[in-house]
């Protein structure tokens, strides 16, 4: 009898349809959610406690804005572990209880949560911060973040993002002091696309487009970027005091500069950097290798050197014009900047196939 009682006490609590949490509450033991959940307050998942959310569940947050700043405060605060594993047929939805707008509710917060928090096949919408972590770990797969004030924001965290769609948020992804791997995902229609400082980030086969500020922006960080399409942003890729291994990407059709490197060390190999509004490459006091790229058809210049150092460029494709000097702005145009030296142009346009577009954005 005692054993049975003990087992009952230790067994996870399962919350069924229309479970409601009001005010400030804490889950002190493992809990499983299935069905409709209403969070009308701040719900904490205690350390070493697991919250598992079953496929098809809908988690709604009510509106509460005590200081009138337009940001909702009701949220899920995870100090333990969050497993929100939906399926393609039955995704899990985190949303507003009412007519939603960005910032209607607070966040899925993960604080000092040492276990891997996992979100798969989730839809997160109308939050202030869709995914928010400090000293956390997270794996987010096959999920959609839309209409949030910030889709992702974290620091001192390790986060993996795979096959996600991060669309129409005020800002997409911003983080600091973190390690991030993002694969086959789309970041579209925000102000900032991906922005970070003091971080290591690997971007592979992503589509980053139509963001009103920079598509990808790093400061004091390390970047590996392969096979990404970064297009129709205000600026494409901006590195400041950073290091970058950048190959096989398409950076085209950005309104200002396709790439902008400031005090950075980069290897820029085999990219298509074409059709950008102001210049393909803007370069300030940077170093590295620039070779095998397509630098054609940029609006004003292919390359601008605005630093005082010499800029050296290997063999690249500059378009059909044989007059490279007209595509470069350097010391010959402005006395206060360094020269650009370039090797003989490639004799023909390099074969730079378009990187794979994330599956759900191919149409």
């Amino acid at each position: 009898m005692r054993l049975l009682l003990l087992l009952l006490l230790l067994a996870p609590v399962t919350a069924w349809a229309e479970t409601v949490y009001r005010g400030e509450q804490t889950l002190w033991q493992d809990t499983v959610w299935e069905g409709e959940i209403l969070i009308d307050g701040i719900l904490t998942v205690a350390p070493e406690v697991r919250l598992e959310i079953r496929p098809g569940s809908v988690i709604r947050f009510t509106r509460n804005d005590t200081n009138g700043d337009g940001i909702g405060e009701h949220e899920l605060f995870v100090q333990g572990e969050l497993l929100a594993l939906g399926t393609a047929e039955a995704p899990i939805r985190f949303t507003a209880a009412g007519d939603g707008f960005p910032g209607f509710w607070g966040a899925i917060n993960m604080m000092a949560s040492e276990n891997d928090n996992r979100l798969e096949h989730c839809l997160v919408e109308f939050a202030y911060r869709g995914f928010h972590a400090h000293f956390g770990r997270g794996k987010v797969r096959d999920s959609v973040f839309r209409h949030n004030r910030r889709a992702f924001q974290f620091q001192e965290s390790t986060v993996s993002i795979e096959r996600c769609r991060i669309v129409d948020n005020f800002n997409g992804i911003q983080f600091r002091d973190s390690t991030v791997r993002m694969v086959e995902s789309t970041v579209r229609g925000g102000n900032w696309g991906v922005r970070c400082v003091y971080s290591d980030i690997e971007l592979v086969n992503n589509l980053i487009e139509g963001n009103l500020a920079n598509g990808v922006s790093l400061r004091d960080s390390d970047l590996v970027a392969r096979g990404n399409t970064i297009t129709r942003n205000r600026r494409g890729l901006y590195l400041q005091r950073s290091r970058g291994e950048i190959d096989g990407n398409w950076l085209q059709g950005n309104a200002e500069h396709g790439t902008f490197f400031e005090e950075s060390d980069i290897n820029l190999v085999g990219n298509r950097i074409a059709g950008n509004g102001r210049a393909g490459i803007r370069w300030i006091e940077s170093g590295g290798t620039i070779v095998g790229n397509d630098l054609s058809d940029n609006g004003e210049y292919a390359v601008i050197n605005d630093g005082s150092d010499e800029m050296s460029i290997g063999r690249n494709w500059w378009g059909k014009s044989s007059r490279v000097a007209g595509l470069v702005r350097d010391q010959s145009d402005r006395a206060d900047v360094g020269p650009v030296r370039w090797d003989a142009p490639l004799p023909q346009e390099p074969d730079l196939p378009q990187p794979p577009i994330p599956k759900k954005d191919r149409e």
Partner: protein, 262 residues
């Protein structure tokens, strides 16, 4: 040091919604946080951290005022709104100055001889998401972007935009209507793309290191009695009727460009 502690305290209070009047005689205000309702300020306004004017709120800066924007001591590396610098983000309504009155000055607060001298931590005025800005007899200077109009509208009369990196950026359907406008000295005067609308009657765009005006695809443009003078590239844009524009002493007056833009 005392001031810096005060500033830090203000920054820690995330929503200092009520402007603080700091002296009894002169009207000196400190402004930071998220505003609500209508806020009317005059004389000296110290912008000591980000300010947001949300939907439904209204900020009025009366004629003759000076807005001094402080660089914060914080390591603000995640943009709270759009910039890592101090910004005035307007989703509601902003009214600065009035016709026929004393001008309003908006500029960075820099102590002569300080480490900050020569730098600016002022992002600029950002009108977004349906925000409305009306500027009359105003001088905007020292910002990263004096005026960003993104999905919002700005109406300017008798306005000088000077010594900013970017003068005006229009995007995401932003609408700019200006009369008797001078935009001078910076990297670029006006950038317009993404279905922006630019309408200037009587204006001067002068002395930019790069472009005077960049017109991207989808930018609807009316430029009447506008002089573009002394820029590196006067006008960059395509399909532009330039008969009402006077080009003077630009290295290149008019450069066509490829069709790009968000």
């Amino acid at each position: 040091m005392v001031y810096r502690l005060g500033l830090l305290l203000c920054l820690l209070l995330t929503a200092c919604s009520a402007p603080r009047q700091t002296t009894g005689q002169a009207n000196v205000f400190e402004l930071a946080g998220v505003l609500a309702g209508e806020t009317v300020l005059h004389d000296i306004v110290h912008l000591v951290a980000d300010v947001r004017v949300p939907v439904g709120a209204r900020l009025v800066i009366e004629p003759g005022s000076t807005i001094l924007v402080h660089s914060t001591d914080s390591t603000k590396i995640d943009p709270e709104f759009l910039s890592s610098k101090v910004e005035l983000l307007v989703e509601g309504e902003l009214v600065v100055g009035a016709a026929g009155a004393e001008p309003v000055h908006v500029l960075p607060y820099v102590t002569v001889g300080s480490e900050d001298a020569g730098e600016t931590g002022w992002a600029g005025i950002e009108l977004i998401a349906g925000g409305v800005g009306r500027f009359n007899n105003v001088r905007l200077s020292g910002a990263e972007t004096a005026l960003l109009v993104s999905g919002a509208s700005a109406v300017l009369d008798q306005v000088v935009v000077t010594d900013n990196r970017y003068g005006v950026i229009l995007q995401n359907g932003g609408r700019f209507s200006g009369t008797d406008v001078l935009i001078d000295r910076g990297e670029t005067g006006i950038l317009c793309w993404g279905e922006g609308s630019l309408d200037i009657r009587r204006g001067n765009i002068v002395g930019h290191d790069e472009e005077g005006v960049v017109l991207g695809p989808g930018c609807q443009t009316v430029l009447q009695e506008v002089e573009i003078r002394g820029n590196d590239l006067g006008l960059v844009g395509s399909a532009m009727e330039t008969g009402r524009i006077r080009f003077v002493d630009n290295r290149v007056d008019h450069l066509q460009r490829v069709e790009v833009g968000p």
